[in-house]
Symmetry: C2
Subunit: 98 residues, 2 copies
């Protein structure tokens, strides 16, 4: 029972750190504004998640593999939006929507 | 040797996903601009890291504990800056410094 509760904490932790990127994806998708996002952060983070994914697959951990597969899609989406929207400069200060 | 290489991948993965938050902390600290950062992301992510930290301590894993302790400091710093700088509205469009 003690062990079950501990594993539940681990599961909740994984859900939180993975699901956390959803609101950022939605926020960036809606605003098309990426100036405050650090390119280096998302480059390094995406690389790290790829390595976690390789690690999860190689150690045969479904939890590590699945969590990092979802996180990779989300983090890579933010990275791509950062690269794309940074290249299309905002048309004046009124470009930012809401 | 095969196992060593695999553990090296895991170590590199942990370093990347933890270190990734450094550039965002610096970026936000320098610009004082947080509009593009999702508050929900950093609330959820910080909660997740706290849970990972509890999990790491309880399972007695130094790697999980250490990595998440560092990540917690960085993610919490971004969260605090988001809350503080969002409350002090920019004085016109010239507020954003470089």
């Amino acid at each position: 029972m003690q062990m079950d509760f501990l594993e539940l904490i681990g599961l909740a932790a994984g859900c939180c750190t993975t699901a956390a990127f959803f609101p950022q994806v939605l926020h960036t998708w809606r605003t098309r504004s990426v100036a405050d996002l650090s390119l280096r952060m998302y480059l390094l983070f995406t690389l790290g998640v790829v390595l976690w994914l390789v690690y999860g697959i190689r150690i045969g951990s479904l939890a590590v593999t699945l969590a990092n597969a979802v996180t990779l899609v989300l983090a890579a989406s933010i990275l791509v939006m950062k690269l794309v929207y940074d290249k299309s400069p905002r048309k004046g200060s009124g470009r930012r929507s809401k």
